[in-house]
């Protein structure tokens, strides 16, 4: 649901109009509890939440929950090459004889860490730029918005490819590249919130009583932007995992023996036709389910925060 939001964002920048924003709807924050109660019973939410909790726990505790920790970290065990799923190896073994469950869990570590780093640094940069631009207004706002326009004009995978090529491969440069691609969305989002609130009476009042600009931002502007930020950040965790997997798939991912979902699909797909579907299928499913779970979670958060939704 990435584009829906982006379209709204671009709309703010004066290109396509705010129709999309009307549909996606940003939250305001009243009646929150009631709306939470409304969405809390959804099975999709529970399934997603449970799945993500399992993935996160499995990733964090990977060295302890699997008996094949060294294989997860990369040690080959060629005697077990391409073993089919069994009690010992519930998800089978890969082309180097490594336990797939252990590999997927170790892959989750890097995928989740990458997504978390990219999204959090994008949020931080976006919030700073968005708050400053929205509050200052004038040419600073204009400049900031045109800058985000420029970044958003690039297809995200291509800009990431360009940056990774220039910065060189590796975890850190991938994080940097993706964060550079991602931050403008958050800047636009926060800035939009700030502009809509800037002339509200309670802000005027705060300003009149001598609250500093920083104080106004912290106490009044930021909290109001929090719900939509959370919604988008949640969905983006999945989106970043997808794009990172794409980068890995075309050869810009980490090198073996590190476990990486995109690389695992790429190297595993040559065994699929011969019958060993699990080598590529398991990481493929892991990516898809994780991205899906984040999307469902984000959607639910949005619905919970959207006063127009009818229950």
């Amino acid at each position: 649901m990435d584009v829906l939001r982006r379209s709204g964002a671009v709309g703010d920048a004066g290109t396509a109009a705010g129709d999309a924003r009307r549909v996606t709807g940003a939250a305001t924050g009243r009646g929150r509890t009631r709306r939470w109660r409304r969405v809390a019973g959804r099975p999709a939410l529970w399934l997603s939440g449970l799945f993500l909790a399992a993935v996160v726990a499995g990733a964090l505790l990977a060295p302890w929950v699997t008996p094949y920790a060294d294989e997860g970290a990369g040690a080959p065990n060629i005697a077990h090459k391409l073993l089919a799923p069994s009690w010992e190896h519930p998800l089978g073994a890969d082309e180097m004889g490594r336990d797939m469950l252990a590999r997927v869990l170790y892959g989750a570590r890097s995928s989740l860490a990458l997504a978390l780093l990219v999204v959090s640094s994008s949020v931080v940069v976006g919030v700073i730029v968005g708050l400053a631009a929205g509050y200052a207004g004038g040419w600073a706002d204009e400049a900031a918005m045109r800058t985000t326009d420029v970044f958003l004009a690039f297809p995200n995978l291509l800009l990431a490819i360009l940056l990774v090529t220039v910065l060189g491969g590796g975890f850190v440069s991938t994080v940097l590249a993706l964060a550079l691609v991602w931050w403008p969305i958050y800047a636009l989002l926060v800035r939009g919130q700030v502009v809509s609130l800037r002339s509200q009476p309670f802000i005027e009042a705060a300003r009149a009583t001598g609250v500093t600009p920083l104080g106004i931002m912290r106490r009044h502007l930021l909290p109001n932007a929090l719900t939509p930020l959370l919604v988008y950040a949640t969905i983006d965790l999945g989106a970043v995992i997808l794009v990172a997997a794409g980068l890995s798939f075309i050869g810009l991912g980490p090198q073996p023996p590190a476990a990486d979902w995109g690389v695992m699909i790429y190297s595993g797909r040559q065994y699929v036709l011969g019958g060993s579907w699990w080598v590529a299928g398991v990481p493929g499913l892991a990516i898809m389910l994780t991205a899906l779970a984040f999307a469902v979670l984000g959607d639910t958060l949005r619905d919970a925060g959207d006063p127009r939704q009818r229950g």
């Binding site: 999309a20 420029v150 297809p155 220039v166 075309i250 999307a295």
Partner: protein, 344 residues
């Protein structure tokens, strides 16, 4: 009058974005890397070749001079030379771009052809079975990695069902027995123009699967967008009035609701176009589709930088042009559009 003003401002905004894109790519390629000449010349280049490139790029001169030089080259269509193909990148783009555009346009066509009717149907029975099913499918479609979908599609339609060809644009037997005369570079068009229907059918069979995969993401978005806007429009007073006047349910949906729903859908379609272009990189790689996506993927493997930069620039310019076009189309289609382009 108002519209003319909007038009000019909108075009100016697009030009500002293009200027920014050029500046940003300049910074990425000339300021960020430790040795821009090595990046352009490629790792395969000898020190002499690198020195030559360094001189050509004027890397010893001030950045401002370099920037002017950079813009000048681009203005002349000089995108550098591909190390892998040995041709100028501009020539390569001429060869590969039509294939990508054909794929993306077909993908977008599929997305709209399936997405809009399905979205309307879903809205007509809000929270019905079809609505829920398409809602789930859309969220799945938006979350699935495109390369996994591509591999899955091949597995189903080629390996299992044997319905569609595996990859490429044309079967080698067909292109051998019924050679295609290149006119536009769009195979479906070229074969139709020359009446080469055997090749046309074959080209169609080849494009269906990759186009479908390219379409999945835009389709998911368009479907939900159509459904949401139509559903919202159905709740509007004038629809209720129409109902009261006794108009048949289907007519109401089509004539009134869809009408107000179309504009945002159009916007979304334009925006997803850019994402379709991104998606084609992976799709073309898997379907061996000789477009700019495969060109970039090959360039990455070969550490061949000029094509990567050129494809990024070209795709970005296409994206900016498409969003501009969509905006202008909105204004043209909707008389209620205000001067600032916002629909009342």
């Amino acid at each position: 009058m108002l519209r003319a003003g909007y038009l000019l401002r909108r075009i100016a905004a697009a030009l500002v974005v293009i200027a920014g894109v050029l500046t940003l790519t300049f910074v990425i390629t000339r300021v960020l890397p430790s040795d821009p000449a090595r990046l352009v010349a490629g790792q395969r280049a000898s020190p002499e070749q690198v020195a030559l490139i360094r001189q050509e790029l004027g890397l010893d001169r001030p950045l401002s001079v370099q920037f002017v030089h950079y813009l000048d080259n681009l203005a002349h269509g000089d995108l550098g030379t591909s190390l892998a193909t040995g041709r100028s990148v501009r020539t390569d783009l001429g060869i590969f771009l039509p294939a990508t555009l054909e794929l993306v346009l077909c993908g977008m066509a599929l997305a709209l052809l399936i997405g809009i009717p399905a979205g309307v149907l879903a809205a007509a029975r809000e929270r019905g079975v079809f609505d829920r099913a398409t809602g789930l499918a859309a969220i799945l479609g938006a979350a699935a990695p495109v390369f996994a979908l591509a591999l899955l599609a091949q597995q189903i339609f080629f390996n299992q069902l044997h319905w569609l060809p595996l990859n490429g644009r044309l079967d080698s037997d067909v292109s051998f027995a019924h050679p295609v005369t290149a006119i536009t570079g769009f195979l479906l068009l070229d074969t139709a123009l020359t009446g080469n229907w055997t090749a046309w059918r074959d080209a169609l069979a080849h494009i269906l699967l990759p186009a479908l995969v390219v379409a999945i993401y835009p389709l998911s978005i368009v479907l939900r967008m159509t459904r949401n806007t139509t559903a919202e429009a159905l709740r509007q007073p004038h629809i209720t009035v129409a109902h009261a006047k006794g108009l048949h349910g289907r007519t109401v949906v089509l004539r009134h609701a869809l009408r107000s729903a179309m504009l945002p859908v159009l916007t979304i379609a334009g925006l997803t176009f850019a994402y379709a272009i991104t998606g084609t990189i992976l799709v073309e790689l898997i379907f061996r589709w000789p477009g700019i996506g495969k060109y970039v993927a090959d360039a990455i493997v070969a550490k061949d930088f000029p094509p990567i930069l050129a494809v990024t620039l070209v795709s970005t310019v296409i994206f900016v042009a498409v969003t501009l076009g969509v905006d202008l189309l909105r204004v043209a289609l909707d008389p209620r559009t205000r001067d600032d382009g916002v629909t009342r």
